[in-house]
């Protein structure tokens, strides 16, 4: 009887083109989620066979074996061994250049009794590398279907017309359920010492399953207690077990060698050592670092300046559209909600699209070409002491443009602990939205002087703030790496993939996938937040509604319009909240006006400047000179002294350096970690540090 839907998993070593094959099989029809409790993406897609059978394919993280070395590899073990999702079969992707190593995982899966199919990728390279392979014999020896494919050259194969190798692979899927795969483990005789005690409880077929349960019991605690309690009765000696596991690998290699001796030939004289030669330059003592710096600088420049062009367009289009709606629709509450609330919120989401697209374009390009692993290699020595991956350099540097794309950029980090720490610390980096706040406050409190005749004091202050952001990111990473527990010891073993020309389709898919994840994930939260803030800033109790009559009674006509805005903001719900927090922020040297600006900063930090412009009735929000003058003259009601003293300025700078004031960032953290726990922790942690440092600075300087 034919089933309507079959659930399969795609597994394989890293760098085997597994994701390329996944993209080729499923196209853009995929769902990206998270595995519960960890920052590892769960990617699933669907495709159909000609006979109508639906195949749901789950792309599992890359791994070398069922024995995990990190949380993401643990996903593979848990999904396949405990099979919570009812995966019915596995497609193993292998690299034709390194079949031997790839087959360790294959033989393990066969021992697990899973229906398996082997897809040997990169067959387009066979001729060039002098590789010959006897597929028919390989199938016979392994007892499973084996296919030669090329995820890269699929188009040339005429895949669309249903002739290509990937098409053929799809249609051999049913075969993996009919054959009888060879078992390896049962001949190794390794379990004798350990599993003999429970022989009666194990079915012969499940021998290897129990062996894995036994050897990986520390990672499978929960399942063992519930379903396999007898495992806990067995004595466990870590060193002895490890020795047995090592023996197992030796035996597997012996079996694999036997099989490949008859089926696989490689002409070693054709090896060019191309990748190694490139690496001697790209990883050179001096050149390596210079090239790396140039690449990082281009990424940084692009998300900073290149992205600003489409960002200006988006800004322009949304402003125009909003104006158009305002003039053509009746002037009422609903129009205001539509234009200033909803439309502004959507604009606040779309504005991030260029930066995310450009960052992921670079990330995908570097990943496809094989350079990402080199970044890890070059940067590990610096990042490792802080519990970060070498790859964390990319999100951290991107964070100086904007934390939103940067946090998403952490997706490229496989290790879930390192990814989480990168996500949580990137918001400390000085993003471009802090810049307008920094410049106006620095201009107010730091004299425009030079020291030693050449160093501009204001510039120095700005540099110090950038450094502060970077240092606090690293220190927090270090603290978090001590706090977040992991079962895994960190050591550095990394395969360096071959350099390759990028597959454009893969880059396109990466960019689209990540844009979708942002727009439909974090985007929804951002729109909701901005509507709330808009509502709070434009609505208020009784006094708010009487603004116009109140102002007309007291003010001269010429100032009315500006003062109406200020008066409205002051008496809006947000204004009331700003006043309400005054007692809390007074120890930092702030009054309620700054309090309101702190609250509106949640929409985006640079809103601080325009809010102050409104409150001080500057009229033209872009007139920074006038705003500076007003701020300089502003007096504190309680002390009668100027509000923006040196102490207040420093306190504000520190507050903006540390505080988590950006709900787009919080929404992105929620979207990446799939829980509100981490954004809440980040909010209190960062704002807590901000409060304490600003407090100390103000109290000691005033």
């Amino acid at each position: 009887m034919k089933k309507k839907k079959i659930k399969l998993a795609l597994v394989g070593n890293p760098n085997t083109g597994k994701t390329s094959l996944f993209n080729k099989l499923t196209g853009l029809h995929k769902k990206i989620g998270n595995y519960p409790g960890i920052t590892v993406n769960r990617v699933a897609g669907i495709f159909q066979l000609d006979d109508g059978t639906l195949i749901e394919l789950i792309d599992l993280p890359g791994t070398y074996s069922l024995h995990p070395n990190s949380k993401d590899e643990e996903v593979v073990l848990k999904e396949l061994l405990l099979n919570r999702e009812n995966i019915e079969g596995v497609i193993v992707v292998a690299d034709i250049n390194n079949l031997k190593k790839n087959m360790i995982l294959l033989t393990e899966l066969q021992d697990l009794g899973m229906p398996v199919m082997l897809a040997i990728n990169m067959c387009d390279e066979m001729k060039r590398k002098g590789i010959e392979i006897d597929i028919g014999k390989l199938e016979k020896l392994l007892g499973i279907p084996v296919m030669l494919i090329s995820a890269k050259k699929a188009k040339a194969d005429g895949e669309k017309k249903g002739k290509g190798k990937i098409h053929a692979l799809k249609h051999r899927i049913p075969e993996m359920f009919t054959g009888k795969g060879k078992r390896f483990f049962e001949n190794y005789g390794l379990t004798a010492l350990n599993l003999d005690f429970i022989r009666d409880k194990i079915k012969t077929n499940d021998l290897y399953k129990n062996w894995i349960l036994y050897t990986e019991q520390d990672k499978l605690n929960e399942a063992i207690e519930k379903k396999f309690p007898y495992i806990n009765e067995l004595p466990f000696d870590r060193t002895a077990v490890k020795k047995l596991l090592q023996k197992e690998i030796i035996k597997r290699y012996k079996d694999i060698n036997e099989i490949l001796k008859e089926t696989y030939r490689i002409d070693k004289s054709k090896a060019t050592g191309f990748t190694e030669r490139i690496d001697r330059i790209l990883l050179h003592k001096y050149w390596g670092l210079i090239i790396f710096a140039v690449i990082m600088f281009s990424v940084f420049q692009s998300i900073f300046s290149l992205a600003s062009i489409p960002m200006d367009w988006i800004d322009g289009i949304f402003t125009q559209f909003s104006m158009y709606l305002k003039t053509s629709l009746p002037d009422n509450e609903l129009t205001a909600l539509l234009t200033d609330g909803i439309l502004a919120g959507i604009a606040g989401v779309v504005i991030f699209v260029p930066q995310i697209a450009i960052l992921f374009l670079f990330i995908a390009l570097l990943e496809e070409m094989g350079y990402m692993s080199r970044i890890v290699y070059l940067m590990d020595k610096i990042m490792q002491p802080f519990g970060l991956s070498g790859k964390s350099v990319v999100p951290l540097l991107s964070g100086t443009a904007c934390a939103v794309p940067a946090i998403m950029g952490a997706r490229t980090i496989e290790n879930s602990k390192e990814r989480l720490i990168t996500i949580l610390t990137t918001p400390f980096m000085t993003c471009s939205a802090r810049l307008p706040v920094y410049t106006i406050i620095i201009a107010l409190i730091i004299p425009e002087e030079k020291i030693f005749g050449m160093i501009n004091l204001q510039g120095l202050a700005l540099f110090a703030l950038y450094f502060l952001g970077f240092a606090s990111a690293l220190i927090s990473a270090w603290v978090l790496s001590k706090l977040i527990k992991s079962n895994y010891k960190r050591y550095f073993i990394l395969e360096m993939p071959e350099y390759k020309l990028p597959i454009l389709k893969n880059i396109y898919i990466t960019v689209i996938d990540n844009l979708k994840a942002f727009v439909f994930g974090a985007g929804k939260i951002i729109v909701a937040f901005s509507i709330i803030i808009w509502f709070l800033a434009t609505h208020g109790p009784e006094k708010f509604q009487q603004t116009e009559t109140d102002i007309k009674k007291t003010e001269k006509f010429s100032h009315q319009e500006m003062n109406i805005e200020a008066y409205k903001l002051e008496n809006s719900y947000l204004g009331i909240m700003g006043k309400a927090i005054e007692p809390v922020i007074r120890p930092l040297g702030y009054d309620w006006k700054i309090g309101i600006a702190l609250l509106t900063s949640f929409a985006a930090r640079e809103v601080f400047v325009s809010t102050l412009s409104t409150i001080y009735s500057v009229g033209d929000a872009d007139n920074e000179h006038l705003l500076k003058e007003k701020m300089r003259r502003e007096q504190n009601l309680f002390t009668g002294k100027p509000t923006f003293t040196f102490a207040v300025g420093i306190s504000l700078l520190l507050f903006y350096a540390f505080a988590m004031q950006c709900f787009s960032t919080l929404a992105t953290i929620k979207n990446e970690t799939k829980t509100w726990k981490w954004p809440v922790i980040v909010f209190f942690y960062m704002t807590g540090i901000a409060y304490i440092t600003a407090f100390i600075a103000y109290q000691s300087l005033k």
């Binding site: 074996s65 024995h67 390194n98 690998i249 990883l283 390596g288 020595k381 073993i493 360096m496």
Partner: protein
Amino acid sequence: MLFRINLNNNMKLTELKPSQKGIAINCENSLLPLKLMEMGCVDGVEIEFINKAPLGSPYYYKIGGTRIALGKEIAEMIDVKPTKKHDDNEEEKN
């Protein structure tokens, strides 16, 4: 270099010169992570040293047919028997 004299000529993986090759002899050592063996680093495999990261670690090798970068602390635990081409005689000439 007296302390270097060593009857069977074995050395740590980190002591190989660039492009020098050696045969791994103690990979089945319970201190080493299993992953290393899974990736093909088993006794008898030929290892070529390619280069060292600019900051001093990791080290980059070709192990069998696979290019693998290893943290210094891991590479130091692996011993190799250098193959003839690049042995100590050549070092003396330099």
